[in-house]
């Protein structure tokens, strides 16, 4: 049986099913109990599992993310919510110096089955400290797996995979894909979700639209901007293939390279900052492997290297979107 679910419900359902299956799984973070998570990702869990396993924390990100590490060393499988990825600054040491490195530095003695779930993304005027993506920053640090679902089916399957994984997984959800009543979300993000548990493998990208003239590689909400752009381009006889990466670490290079071998053109659409990030990484990977086969230089549309502005007109000007994608592809193909 399946039914259409918004992403936030798919995530909380995944967590609930894993908590039922494995008593070592528990959740902690700010406002994840009675509130159900600021973006709904833990809705209904407190009622089902009680305050021991659905644990509201003080506003002490270092303490509860560090505690996740300690708990993991004793066989628990913590899920912690970092309310906005923008807040990582106050807890980064526990993430990148400890959780990410414990397995390697201990020579494999210590496993870190920790899920750090966090909200990302802009487009709703929340300005410079509540709209960032920053997945590139975490992907840069060895030892963290990075997953970013774009729809409710992947959201549930990736969450279950993340919980079952013995390595630390950063689970990013884009706030504007969650299907919350109070924040617009593309209706395409709420898809059929099976009631029973299932996994979406970490490290597998998905071709969400097949095409011949250009490969658009992207993630999260930009998947929809790319899909909408592809429809426009089709009217002009340009056929775009779109890859939803779903996982940044480990990166599914095969799927990207296969697609670009076919289309011989690459555009990366990235809501994270432009420099030293995902867009550069994907382009470098393609150029290193099949650079000679490209018909035109690869392009990227990313967030410019500026703090995210507040005013609607300013934010819209810099946020990657359908129009920018259409224009870039046309420039490449012509």
């Amino acid at each position: 049986m399946s039914r259409k679910l918004p992403m936030f419900k798919a995530i909380s359902e995944a967590i609930a099913q894993e908590m039922e299956r494995d008593e070592n799984v528990f959740v902690m973070g700010e406002d994840i109990g009675a509130y159900g998570g600021i973006f709904g990702a833990t809705q209904g869990l407190l009622e089902k599992f009680g305050p021991e396993r659905v644990r509201d924390t003080p506003i002490s990100e270092s303490a509860f993310i560090g505690a996740a590490l300690g708990a993991a060393t004793k066989g628990l499988r913590p899920i912690v919510e970092l309310m906005f990825v923008d807040f990582f600054g106050v807890a980064m040491d526990q993430i990148y110096n400890h959780i990410a490195k414990a397995h390697y530095m201990s020579g494999g003695q210590i496993r870190m089955p920790v899920v750090i779930m966090t909200a990302m993304g802009g487009g709703y005027c929340d300005a410079a400290q509540h709209s960032q993506c920053l997945y590139g920053l975490f992907a840069h640090v060895p030892g963290l797996k990075i997953v970013i679902p774009s729809n409710s089916y992947d959201a549930k399957g990736l969450m279950i995979s993340a919980i079952r994984d013995d390595d630390p997984v950063m689970y990013f959800f884009h706030k504007m894909l969650m299907g919350l009543e109070w924040m617009p979300s593309p209706e395409e993000a709420a898809v059929e979700v099976p009631e029973e548990p299932y996994t979406v493998p970490i490290g597998e990208a998905k071709v969400v639209r097949e095409g011949d003239d250009v490969t658009i590689t992207t993630v999260a909400r930009m998947v929809y901007e790319a899909l909408w752009a592809a429809k426009e381009l089709e009217k002009e006889g340009i056929s775009a293939e779109i890859i939803d990466l779903r996982t940044l670490v480990p990166l599914d290079k095969e799927t990207i390279l296969q697609s670009v071998k076919k289309t011989c053109r690459l555009l990366v659409v990235d809501e994270d900052y432009r420099s030293y990030g995902m867009s550069g990484e994907i382009i470098a990977t393609v150029v290193e492997n099949i650079g000679n086969e490209l018909k035109s230089p690869p392009m990227r549309i990313a967030y410019p290297d500026i703090p995210i502005p507040y005013s609607r007109v300013l934010e819209k000007h810099v946020l990657p979107d359908k129009e920018k994608i259409v224009n870039a592809v046309k420039a490449m193909v012509q």
Partner: protein
Amino acid sequence: MGVDNIPKETLLEMFKTMHKIRTYEEALGEVYYEGKTPNFDISAGPIPGELHLSSGQESAAVGVCIHLRPDDAVVGTHRAHHFAIAKGVDLKKMTAEIFGKATGLSGGKGGHMHLFDASVNFSCSGIVGASFPQAVGVGLAAKMKGEDYVAVAIGGEGATNQGTFHEALNMAAIWKLPVIFVIEDNGWAVSVPKDKSTAVADNSERAKAYGIPGVSVDGGDVIAVYKAAKEAVERARRGEGPTLIEIRVYRLRGHFEGDPQLYRPKEDLELATAKDPLPKFERLLMEKRVATEEELNRIKEENEKEVRDAIEFARNSLYPEPEEALKGVFAGGG
């Protein structure tokens, strides 16, 4: 015959461990300079990199760890050899790790500041203040799983001015977790004296802010440390919550090897020697007729042999295969 109702065998075990630590640290302090004289090159010799030795601080480790079981966790600092030895970490594997050898605890991937021995629940970190939240996580696991193991977080007095200290104390207190926060006050945060870094004379006063017991102990007296730690560990095991213990110790060597200690008044070094807990304890054991000089000498000889053997083992061990560097980031390989 014992002292203060502490049985003879416990006292001798404590003496043995304290003396072993001192012998070990002083021996490493010699080996460290091999290849580093006449010109000090931190990257040269059999023990490269930084080396923070714990001579003078043995009473803190031994007085605390004597109460611990293998399933209790100790999360240490950059200066952690004494706690590692007192917690029962294998001396040969630990030494091999410090030498960067394949036979080391982590196959040479961790090093002196990152010693991990999962079999006795010991770990440490080179980041000041990182231990506190991690111990809270172990305490949380004990509580959630209904087990009676405890967690000990070690920090220097300098670490009490990190946010993690305050976050972790608060969280352990509100959740009533079995955690013992042990502050080793050696008076110096590298080169900054306590009265220039810390707003209160005794960190134990800070326990009041979190509604938990706080005690200050003279580390020159290992029996005093033993008693304070006993109460704290028993309290934690009974499920009555965390305790903060500050132990005044004296650093007999520099912050790290090669530290000329120009910042340190001569009187402070003299005081350190006068307060040395090891000869004091040795005198006490003889005065109270717990042991004869011959008995103690026999223990010393055993220690000297064990330390020699450990260093020999490390010297004779092979370095890891260079390609090993690329393995072990994730539990699933890669």
